[in-house]
Amino acid sequence: MSKQLERWGFVLLATLVALIFTSFVLVLAGASPVAAYWYILKGSLGSWTKISDVMVAWVPLLLATAGLLVTFAAGQWNIGVEGQIVLGAIFTTWVMRSLQHTNTPAAIVLILAFIAGAFGGAIWSAFAGILKVYGGVNEIFGGLGLDFVAVALILWLIFGPWKRPGIGSMSGTEPFPHRLWLPTIHGTRLSLWALAIGLVSIGVVYFLLTGTYFGLKLKAVGRNPKAAYLMGIPTTKYLMGAFIISGIFAGLAGAVQVTAVYHRLIPAISSGYGWLGLMVSMLINFQAAWAAPVTFFFAALNIGSIQLPIMLKLDSSLSGVLQGALVLSFLLLEGARRRWVKRREEAKNE
């Protein structure tokens, strides 16, 4: 019981430290912290529309985080999620464009589009995996390189082969016909289908990592590949498997962005959810159980801070400051807590 209490006390303290830090930044920028937090709160949870907007942002973040937790379990820093989301979006768009003027039923088109998206993300992730497993290229470098290639690819498509009639523009490709939009709840931008995909995904990952042999083996490979190999675990297969699964989730995030949110391909289709997912993973210490609430919180911060430029003439990147401060203060305090627990345990026996 007291352990639970302690855990929550710790979370509270770390959050407080992050808030204090961010407030300090706000004061330096000449704004009132109280006002800023109030607008963030109002801007994210102030109305049903806002809440549904938060959920729209929640889904891709949830998917990116779900994938990252799998690669982290295998001890891999899959920095390439951003690129995988982009590739997912590109593959989805490709299917949609190919079928939009045929009389294929919308449901079939969308299903195929999602499958293609998952496939696109998986391929891109598999590249990073192959570079790592067979080429000995550190996955961080491989992932970063592939991110750049993905960005180049999407820009080329939008301004080249897939450009709008007339002239290519940053606003993306020609929108799909209305009948191919993933249905949303009336009056909002939220698609229950997308939400379901996100929640099911994180559930699947949680189950995979905590309840199955697959997850346990992945952990063994991540922590000691030599011993895992001697135990009979095909380490390269598992590493590749982790990359591919992670890529599938990232690709689905891209598919959701295309079919449910933007209804076309835009250059910033990944919206930085990959990076945000990395932050969340670190913040929750790679424990899948915490992923859903924390990604929701981060999504709320993102949506809430959209208000800031208008209301307080602050840049909306403030949410990034707060998110970064949270991760840092958690990591810092976690280190301190470990030392403290150790010392106390030693003291207890005196």
Partner: protein, 499 residues
């Protein structure tokens, strides 16, 4: 310097690893510390060297109380320790490693350090190349380096935690000579072991720990039976050789050749039969490990064939060998055998034949508890493997071997185990032999090889002897062969013929 430990207590959760230990050690002596696996030896020594803090009790140095908050404090007080499982050595040069931790910090006199290293090494008859990389050294050489480093840092009290595991007989001789010399110079040596012979030849006094308590002290001439009784609380002995009738061939090695950049072994011919135990003797790095690894599919032979149960397995992967019932037990427990961060029950879940996709936690827990009991592992199902004592890690590793194997290949199966556990382990291994498993193992313990093998192969610098009959070979003969004597004639001739 005189050390006094007074009423030292240390808990790890519910484990009372050190229970009210009081011990005083005069300067200029070699103090032995005996105890079975998990008795609390390493814990006590880590307390004395500042790696752990005692929960209660105090340390006095020359009568003055000493508070140690870190290993650096201990070094400053003149106390240095060589660990049981040597901490990872980064790939740095010998000289840089030697200079690590030198208090003068920056502006370090590199030339001076090199001279100090060379002259110290010469005094002790160690040959260390200051420009070699540490990761190319043998365990024995790393140990020599560490001794010199601690001496240079001004250590007057040196703690050795099971220093003789993993080093060659020659290195052991050199180590003992160095220890005697250090003691005669007035330094205090603490020597942790569970080998009685070592206590007998080396120690001026010995203290025995059992289950965290100091159960007695003894002085030479030692009564070994008394020591055994103190260690284990009862008398134990190795017992007679166990003879097991042999069955059909399991492993056939035909004109095998294996090589790496340092060493080539070739022309190995051997047949291992069900129930048979083959021991590989030789100095560390003479090729035994290559042969074992080749027979497990971990290295690809450059010539010859390996057959398991009548199937040609040459060039197949380790995992195909595994499917044929060949298991491999590495020497380096934490690097190759166990997965740090995972618990005992997670290890048992991984090791067992898997049914289905979802882990049946209750079944795994039950299995783990059974094995913990049967293999007498001091730990709980949810203990992470790195929190186990060295000997208990070894038991865990053995407990993880699957049932019904055809061939078990082992590097140092009882390294780090106390006598009782070693006997027990071999009893379980022989039980497997009765179930028609063949065993192929290497060891630096000649007694172990002679007592438990049916036949013995001796390795010397990549050359392999004809199989010797263990029943008619003596320790002396084996020792000579390992040193290369009697080798020139016989296998060389065989090699000539082979060409």
């Amino acid at each position: 310097m005189k050390i006094e430990l007074r009423n030292i207590h240390k808990f790890f959760g519910p484990v009372h690893a050190n229970n009210n230990i009081t011990l005083s050690i005069p300067s200029g002596s070699i103090q032995g510390l005996l105890g079975e696996n998990g008795a609390g030896k390493s814990t006590l020594m880590k307390i004395l060297s500042g790696y752990l803090r005692p929960d209660r009790g105090e340390i006095l140095l020359d009568g003055k109380p000493l508070v140690l908050n870190s290993p650096a404090d201990a070094i400053r007080a003149g106390i240095g320790m060589l660990h049981q499982d040597p901490l990872d050595f980064p790939p740095m040069k010998v000289l840089d490693n030697f200079m690590m931790g030198y208090p003068r910090g920056l502006g370090l006199p590199k030339r001076e350090a090199r001279e100090a290293l060379l002259s110290l090494a010469e005094q002790f008859g160690f040959s260390l190349d200051p420009d070699a990389y540490v990761d190319t050294l043998t365990i024995g050489e790393r140990q020599q380096l560490e001794i010199l480093r601690l001496l240079w840092l001004g250590a007057k009290i040196l703690i050795f935690d099971e220093p003789t595991t993993g080093i060659s007989a020659q290195q052991k001789e050199k180590l003992f000579a160095a220890l005697r010399r250090l003691a005669s110079e007035g330094k205090t040596i603490i020597f942790v072991t569970h080998k009685l012979e070592e206590v007998e030849v080396l120690c001026d006094r010995v203290a025995v720990l059992r289950a965290g308590k100091l159960v007695g002290e003894a002085y030479p001439p030692y009564n070994l039976d008394d020591l055994v009784r103190m260690m284990f609380g009862k008398v134990i002995s190795k017992g007679k050789r166990i003879e097991i009738p042999l069955g059909k061939p399991v492993l056939q090695v035909k004109d095998l050749a294996v090589e790496d950049y340092r060493l080539r072994i070739e022309g190995v011919n051997l047949e291992v039969r069900e129930g048979e135990v083959i021991g590989l003797a030789g100095m560390e790095g003479s090729g035994q490990r290559h042969l074992l690894r080749a027979c497990a599919g971990l290295i690809r032979p450059v010539g010859g064939e390996i057959w398991v149960d009548g199937e040609n397995m040459t060039g197949k992967t380790y995992h195909s060998f595994l499917r044929k019932g060949v298991a491999y037990l590495p020497a380096d427990r934490m690097k190759e055998g166990l997965v740090p961060g995972l618990t005992l029950s997670e290890h048992f879940a991984l090791a067992q034949e898997q049914t289905g996709f979802v882990i049946d936690r209750a079944a795994v827990l039950k299995r783990t508890e059974e094995h913990i009991k049967r293999f007498n592992i001091r730990g709980r199902p949810d203990s992470t493997v790195e929190s186990l004592s060295g000997g208990n890690q070894q038991r865990a590793l053995l407990a993880l071997l699957r049932p019904n194997l055809r061939l078990i290949l082992m590097e140092h199966p009882t390294r780090g185990l106390d006598m009782e556990s070693a006997i027990w382990v071999w009893n379980t291994l022989k039980e497997r032999c009765r179930q028609r498993t063949a065993i192929f193992f290497m060891s630096s313990d000649l007694e172990e090889i002679l007592h438990y093998s049916d036949r013995i192969l001796v390795f010397f610098g990549g050359r392999v002897s004809e199989p010797l009959d263990a029943r008619t070979t003596t320790v002396e003969q084996l020792g000579q062969l390992i040193g290369g004597r009697g080798f020139e004639s016989q296998p060389e001739a065989a090699r000539e013929v082979a060409k």
